[in-house]
Amino acid sequence: MLIKDQAICIRTIDYAETSQVITLLTDTYGKIRAIAKGSKRPRSPFGGPIEVFSYGPAVILDKPHAQLGTLTEFQPRFEIISGLTRNLQAYNAAMLAAELVDRFTKDHDPHPGLYQLVLGFLRDVVSGPNPLPATIGFQLGLLRQVGMQLVLDGCANCRRPYSEDWPAYYFSSSANGLVCRDCEGSFPDRMMLGLEAVRGLQDQANLASAGPVARSVARILIDHITRILGHQLRTARQFLQGMACHGSSG
């Protein structure tokens, strides 16, 4: 089957001396892994080695029972990569996003909207002054895409609608969202949240000028995702460290 679709590269692995195995997130067909033969040759058919976050129209020869397809055409665009090479926070955030997409999706499992979510996120982090709210928005969007949407409009346990009049707000990873004070005792992993953090989780526009709150929300989400995946994210440490440095300097 010949797949022609818009695709973004989210992972590359060198294969032999001149080729790469790349993981592409396509707009229509989900995640596809393919070999890019000769991509590292000086006269590569893809305009040079394929890098993570290069994106554009791709043609993949996808055999039904083969683990790897063959990338036959790819016309990558580089403006996102160019932006990421100028901003360390954006670079760290983008790497985290690439790992999250790879971990949360399965090969050939279409997620309509995910490609646009990733591309929109990358454009936001490259162009925006602070990539943190966009990263939080992306994580929440990804969870929604893969069917693990957080409950943020009420108590995830008793379904009591959220109100700013609640006496206290809690987040529980095992409850998958906000928890009210009446229910918090049932969730040993709950943590207390401030009102600003709750507002930030519900709408990332509220985090634009709230540095420490945004960092704490990002940390909560990474802890939550780590719990879901059952292991540490490779990119999380650098993202969190970069975030802390950025916070202390700015």
Partner: protein
Amino acid sequence: MDSLYTDSIKRLIEQLGRLPGIGPKSAERLAFYILHTSKDEALALADAIRAVKEQIRPCKDCFNLAEGPLCPICADPRRDHNTICVVEQPKDLVALEKTGLCNWVYHVLGGHICPLDGIGPADLTIDRLIERVRSGQVREVVMATNPTLDGDGTALHIASLLRGLPVRITRLARGLPAGSTIEYANDKVLADAILGRQTIQ
């Protein structure tokens, strides 16, 4: 097919076949060359391999390849020790030195940061570079990491650590190579050239 060879020849072919760019046929051809060459010549090859494995160690200052505590570049007093050029691998250093334009000293990182592969700053010699800059008379750090996403990410990370220190941070220019034509340049090179355009003096 394997039984055609004695054990020692088989072992030699196997070992040669592990080298990059050497397939089974080439390994056989090299093994037969070694077999037919004089004993002195063959043992000189073996001695050369043994010597590099036993005598080469990282330079204590820059982590370039050295046979003593310091590499020849760090030990050279005529070099400009106020400027450090940061490279990923010793091979990159060799390529820069071949231009004949570099009088600076180097710092070899031992790779680049690659978050997706779990390679972080602690896996490289970045801490030692920061120590060198803090403790010495360094006025400029030239980033010569590879012009890839991860190479640039590594340069950005190092630059973020050096920010606040009285040192100029630069990186190698990129774009169209001299003597080339725009018509045949690939998109990536053109994008770099456009974004890095310079004022004509």
